[in-house]
Point group: C2
Chain length 206, copies 2
């Protein structure tokens, strides 16, 4: 029940460090090998901790992965908040969105493991829920962005929910297709895609 990173006794400190070590190693492995191909034993070997110890810190393999996804989204949010102030129009924001997306997807590519993870079945109910939550979060994010654009006249006022889903679809598809591309090409691809999307939803007098 600590509020921040303060006043940890020896035991709590060690525990926290171990958890961090496991999380970091797991992240690297998931990124390189994918979700399924990374075994708990791999993580165990990479950290020096025992398998059992991993289960002491995380509920399950899926729980561990969700933990990493959470961290990833938080980092993403922080970066976004840093960048968003630099953009004036929502159009610019969308380009910035795409840029951060592609950089994030190709450098911190949990994304590959993530899409593998999402397409797995046999997910316990709570995991499924968590995933749905995430998608809803993304859609909300997109909707807010689009609403801004509509409010200030950049975009046509159309069915926002639909537009948000389409944007999300586009991004998912792009991250799928760009996996075998070089960074430069991926960036170009994302930009072009956003450009098309923007032309598609822009208010006629652009």
């Amino acid at each position: 029940m600590e509020s921040k990173g303060a006043a940890l006794n020896k035991k709590q400190l060690q525990s926290e460090q171990t958890k961090r070590r496991v999380a970091d190693a797991a992240r690297a492995l998931f990124v390189n090998k994918g979700y399924k191909a990374t075994s708990i034993e791999d993580i165990s070997e990479a950290t020096g901790s025992s398998k059992g110890n991993i289960y002491y810190h995380f509920k399950s393999k899926e729980g561990l992965f969700l933990y990493l996804l959470d961290e990833w989204e938080q980092e993403w949010e922080v970066k976004w908040q840093e960048n968003v102030s630099h953009y004036k129009t929502v159009t610019d924001k969308l380009y910035g969105f795409a840029k951060q997306m592609v950089l994030d997807d190709l450098n911190h590519p949990l994304s590959k493991a993530a899409s593998e993870f999402f397409n797995h079945d046999e997910k316990p109910g709570d995991v499924e829920e968590r995933i749905i939550e995430m998608v809803q979060g993304h859609l909300k994010f997109n909707q807010d962005l689009l609403q801004q654009g509509i409010d200030n006249g950049e975009f046509k006022a159309e069915n926002i929910e639909c537009l948000a889903i389409i944007l999300e679809s586009l991004v998912i598809g792009l991250s799928h297709m760009s996996r075998q591309l070089k960074l430069q090409n991926a960036i170009q691809l994302y930009q072009q895609a956003i450009k098309i999307y923007l032309y598609g939803i822009a208010n006629p007098p652009h």
Copy 2:
């Protein structure tokens, strides 16, 4: 080495029927349960054939799935050829493309199993190749379509390869996102998405 479905002796006939039975049952199972969740034993039980017999007709589980994907794409192509004659402009073709896509994806949804399959690792080299071939085929298809639109002035003349990839991305993402939608909503979503895409690539005086 027969050319068509003619002149089969009793043995060959039985063999072909068995293969068909296995393929059909496997297809139904993959559709309902997904790729990984469908075991060879499931297929064995559904057909009455033994596990070993399935391996007599198909190289492996993956080979069986690829066989089904091939069939699926062939059916798709046939339907497309039937429809394409009805459309005049390439714009209409793209709407028709989307329509067939969504109907196909939600009725014959190997698509769910397919995206699960694609995201699997541990694929032997030849399987990976086959998949890449398929993607290339799709891109080629898209490129041809776009080229037509450019030739007759419907679309702006831009980097076609890029546009083709973006279209493919959009479709992949849509099929991903629309999985939990009702058919009506999915159709609407696809149409709207294509509309945006078309606005994005259309020649200014539309």
